[in-house]
């Protein structure tokens, strides 16, 4: 893998740090008029998702990370792996539970997800921002409560639990924002 000098640092560049692939979020050059230049860098660790700050001496080189981002559609789960497919090449990519993480509860068949692959293996799965899922369990709500005040927990077909307005019933399909885990609206069938 290529090495990158600090002068090539920019948002989105993938580098290795502490044995983990990382993505540069922000890079600020600090240069005293008569002194050592350095780079204050914010990096996101791609496996843990943690954002850390790190200062590099300008002119230093760091190892690049063999990381690619792919848009793949979710196929199925065989109990051990979650299988995704490239819609153009039809190549299938299995992701393990560590890579899928919390995204598991938002995976809907055919939905296109963003996968990050390091040295060819998935390390993270990001679901679409919005998914549509059926409610499999919730308390019967009060008829006529259309204002949506209060709310109640509802279990979705993937096992995810979200708060929904009282008027939403079992068997209905709802739209959820996966970034916040919040109910957005009912979906007309």
């Amino acid at each position: 893998m290529a090495n990158y000098s600090t002068s090539e640092f920019k948002g989105g560049l993938k580098i290795m740090q502490d044995g983990e692939p990382c993505s540069i979020v922000e890079n600020e050059m600090v240069k005293p008029g008569k002194g050592q230049a350095f780079n204050r860098v914010k990096i996101r660790k791609l496996i843990s998702g943690k954002v850390v700050e790190k200062t590099f001496k300008s002119g230093e080189s760091v190892e690049g990370a063999d990381v690619i981002e792919l848009e793949l559609s979710y196929l199925y789960n065989d109990g051990e792996f979650w299988h995704f497919m490239n819609n153009e090449t039809f190549e299938q990519v299995p992701a393990d539970a560590k890579a899928v993480g919390d995204a598991e509860k938002w995976l809907v068949e055919q939905d296109v997800c963003t996968l990050i692959l390091w040295e060819g293996k998935p390390i993270s799965v990001q679901p679409p921002n919005f998914v549509e899922l059926e409610i499999t369990e919730t308390d019967p709500g009060l008829k006529g409560d259309t204002a949506g005040t209060g709310g109640k927990p509802a279990t979705l077909s993937t096992g995810a639990v979200v708060r929904v307005p009282l008027f939403v019933q079992i068997g209905e399909v709802i739209k959820v924002d996966t970034r916040s885990g919040e109910y957005v609206s009912r979906v007309q069938k």
Partner: protein, 323 residues
């Protein structure tokens, strides 16, 4: 293709006003405006500055084709001071490779001036007056480099033990651990500590002057006779920005030659190309530079402070990215 300027028209009017008030300031004090060359047969040896260069189509009488774009007009202005013994100032474009960011554009404007018979204290006082007259700043507050470290970190930057303590302190900062574990250069340790630990403690709305830098960071300042561990160099910070760097000027040609050689030794250690020392500057010092003090102040940064701009692109007609 975007062709629009970076700065707004009202900012360009403020820029013009600031040029006018700077020129008025020096006219009132009998200091003469000069404009020296941008292209020189010599660059700088300074380890932390990188010249851009260009090739002239035919060799000059000295045999070289390479011309260096000046990182500051310092050497040329000192030759004028040596030759004519006059107070001079200059507002000039300068160019520095590898410098781009919120407060940096590769090409920018420096305000540089030299005052005969002034020492660093007299010149700090004049910088304070300039900031007051052009930007309405309150009087400058002075502290020595050593005081800054003692007050903030309780560690002495002028002793080996103190520097090791500062290195250990930096090593305990997670963002700096990897670098500081292996850093052995005392000046680098102090410069990083200064940027990361000292500068953030400065009161923003009062200009801060740091004086008496460690002699290893003397640059072109003379050594303080009363304490040879420090040099008569000062830096001014205002509104969180490094604004000016000045010296009670080194006039000793032998000492200057030795510092250029030291720079080149550092360059070899850092695997940087060596730079030929400007022989015409050395000759001027040999012939006699009068006792004087000089300072360079970032004009674009001064305008940023005056106008409240958050990025240097807001105060430049066209940044290099848009040139």
């Amino acid at each position: 293709m975007s062709w629009r300027p970076d700065a707004s028209w009202s900012m360009l009017q403020q820029r013009a006003d600031l040029f006018k008030s700077v020129r008025q300031f020096f006219e009132n004090r009998g200091v003469t405006e000069v404009d020296t060359h941008l292209l020189s047969q010599y660059g700088v040896t300074d380890v932390h500055l990188k010249n851009l260069s260009t090739e002239f189509s035919q060799p000059l009488p000295s045999g070289t084709n390479t011309l260096y774009l000046q990182t500051s007009p310092e050497f040329a202005m000192k030759r004028l001071v040596a030759a004519y013994q006059q107070d001079i100032y200059q507002l000039s474009h300068v160019v520095r490779d590898d410098e781009v960011g919120r407060y940096h554009n590769p090409e920018f404007t420096l305000l540089e001036w030299y005052r005969i018979g002034f020492d660093d204290n007299a010149l700090i006082n004049e910088v304070s007056q300039l900031l007051s007259e052009t930007c309405g700043a309150p009087p400058i507050v002075e502290r020595s480099y050593q005081q800054c470290f003692l007050e903030t970190l309780k560690l002495d930057p002028l002793t080996p033990d103190g520097i090791e303590g500062i290195r250990q302190h930096l090593e305990s900062v997670p963002a700096l651990t990897d670098w500081m574990q292996k850093e052995t250069d005392a000046s680098t340790i102090l410069q990083v500590a200064f940027s990361e630990c000292i500068e953030p403690t400065f009161t923003k709305n009062v200009p801060q002057c740091v004086t008496r830098f460690p002699v290893e960071q003397a640059a072109l300042a003379r050594v303080d006779e009363s304490d040879p561990r420090v040099a008569k160099r000062f830096e001014v910070y205002y509104q969180g920005v490094e604004l000016a760097n000045g010296y009670h000027e080194l006039t000793d040609a032998v000492e200057q030659t030795r510092r250029f050689q030291d720079d080149n030794r550092h360059r070899v250690t850092n695997k940087q190309p060596q730079m030929a020392a400007d022989k015409r500057l050395i000759s001027a010092l040999e012939s006699g530079l009068p006792d004087c003090a000089g300072v360079a102040l970032g004009f674009d940064r001064l305008l940023m402070i005056k106008s409240g701009a958050k990025h240097i692109s807001e105060v430049l007609p066209f940044t290099t990215n848009n040139a």
